[in-house]
Amino acid sequence: MSVLELKNISKNYGAIQALNGVSLTVEPGEVVGLMGDNGAGKSTLVKVIAGNFAPSSGEVLISGQTVNFHKPLDAQRAGIEVVYQDLAICNNLSAASNVFLGREPTRQFGPFQIVDYKHMQNRAVELFARLKSETRPRDLVKRMSGGQRQAVAIARALLTDARIVLMDEPTAAISVRQVAEVLNLIRQLSEQGIAVVLISHRMPDVFEVADKVIVLRRGQLVASKNASDSSPEEVTGLITGAIEAA
């Protein structure tokens, strides 16, 4: 069963049609590359899935169940995590603190609830091991490479046992070496049965990890096909409109 299914999703802001009848499915463990030019509707689509706002019409199904997200927390509870590009990380905190930010584990200390640092460290070590990342939980994030920072952001997703991880431009603005690291992280997620929706402008990155590519143009889905049946040239054509649909 598809972990995520969109049926005829439309979204309009007044007279502007941002999404027009988009339907797609994402299977467990599948890596989907979501592509399109600026203004094609990628972020609108992601925001609909992440519960930032409801679609004007259409249906969102999670594991076959229709859902109505009213706020991002609803989506998070349903197993959808968004990895924002650098946004959701605090430089002054350790990797472990960042992983647990907003959901810190506590323990009883006399009459007080105090943060359970030990549990945080141990869980973080586990999560980084699952991601095969060398990130050390005690290190401050500000001293980390772009790849390690992504590992921290992705570990947050693992913490809640997410089933779908949405990644917004995870490979923008980092070095080639770190891109490889991030792509590895994506593969790790996929191997654990977590579906990844990768929004990216970087064609080579998408084709390196994605099982499926989805192309949006002016709010419409113009292609949804296996990455192995497509090519960067074709996708470029689809994005720009040189190729009508595939």
């Binding site: 605090c90 430089n91 002054n92 905190l93 930010l101 959901r103 007080f112 943060v115």
Partner: protein, 331 residues
């Protein structure tokens, strides 16, 4: 203990040693007791200021809050005969309301902390002066409140209770800042509010709480100052105190950009400030130069600290590059 805190502690000991060598009275029980009292009084509200600075904000109204609530407290207890425990509660409640007001204006109305609390500084001072018609508020002749006096200006084994109160507050606030979930969120909000919000933290509530903590501690300090001076002169009581608090926090390693600092740091900052005041007195430096000495030391301290951190950052960057190069050579 952080490296920064350790550096500050060493500085305090070094300055103390120099002062002692020049004037052995520095370590006399009377001098230590008096200095501890001042450290307690100033430390109380400096800790609160630390919380606000942690959010990247600033509270300029502290001195005026101390004057206004001091006047109100003295009048309540001295003039209207309100039982002092009730008066203490009312003062703390008033402090909480003031902090809540600041917090709401800053978060809901998106006003800048500097502007909000600067207006607070003017308003509270003005109310204090207007309410008393510029006359000094004091206790009636011969009035005495033994329990209240024991709590505020009493001493146990030579240790002033204001100092004890400050230590107790520091321990509680240490728990809050370094051990509680709220503390984690405070660090996050101070450094990257957007990230904190994306993580599901109610950032507005965290910020408002910081201002409430600051004003409540200022209210407690107001009671201690009022009892210490026994009379409150509304136009001068607590003048510049907000700057002492900010100076203590900055000396203690707080960044005015938010997200950095520790309770131990701000307490040590308050200690150093009072030590410098004491130095001016003991070494026979004209007391008119008081502020100049303080300003110079803070300036040098912060400058040295930044130079050291830049040096450390360069060193660790060089180390990382070395590792990376070795790594690459192996591949």
């Amino acid at each position: 203990m952080h490296k920064k805190d350790l550096g500050l502690a060493i500085l305090i000991i070094a300055v103390g040693t120099v002062v002692y060598l020049r004037n052995p009275l520095f370590l006399s029980p009377i001098n230590l007791g008096n200095t501890a009292n001042l450290i307690g009084l100033f430390g109380l509200f400096a800790i609160g200021q630390g919380f606000v600075i942690m959010t990247g904000g600033i509270d300029l109204s502290v001195g005026s809050v101390i004057a206004l609530l001091g006047v109100v407290f003295v009048d309540m207890v001295g003039k209207f005969g309100v039982p002092w425990p009730l008066a203490v509660l009312i003062i703390i409640l008033l402090g909480a309301i003031i902090g809540l007001g600041h917090g709401l204006l800053i978060t809901r109305f998106k006003m800048q902390p500097f502007v909000v609390t600067l207006c607070g500084l003017l308003i509270y001072r003005g109310i204090a002066r207007g309410y008393t018609a510029e006359s000094t508020a004091g206790f009636p002749f011969g009035a005495s409140f033994p329990d209240l006096e024991w709590l505020t200006i009493g001493r146990s084994f030579g240790v002033p209770h204001s100092f004890v109160a400050m230590i107790v507050v520091a321990i509680v606030m240490w728990m809050v800042l370094h051990q509680s979930v709220f503390g984690r969120h405070l660090y996050a909000v101070g450094k990257n509010e957007e990230a904190a919000r994306f993580s599901g933290i109610r950032t507005d509530a965290v910020t408002i709480s910081a201002y409430v903590i600051c004003s409540v501690l200022a209210a407690i300090a107001a009671i201690y100052f009022a009892m210490f001076t026994k009379s409150v002169q509304p136009s001068s009581h607590g003048n510049f105190y907000e700057l002492y608090a900010i100076a203590a926090a900055v000396l203690g390693g707080f960044s005015l950009r938010g997200g950095e600092g520790s309770i131990i740091g701000v307490v040590l900052g308050a200690v150093l400030l009072q030590e410098l005041q004491n130095l001016v007195n003991l070494l026979g430096i004209p007391s008119s130069l008081n502020f100049a000495v303080m300003g110079t030391v803070i300036l040098l301290g912060v400058m040295a600290d930044q130079q050291f951190s830049a040096f450390r950052a360069r060193k660790s960057a060089a180390q990382a590059m070395n590792l990376l190069q070795k790594d690459e050579a192996r591949m």
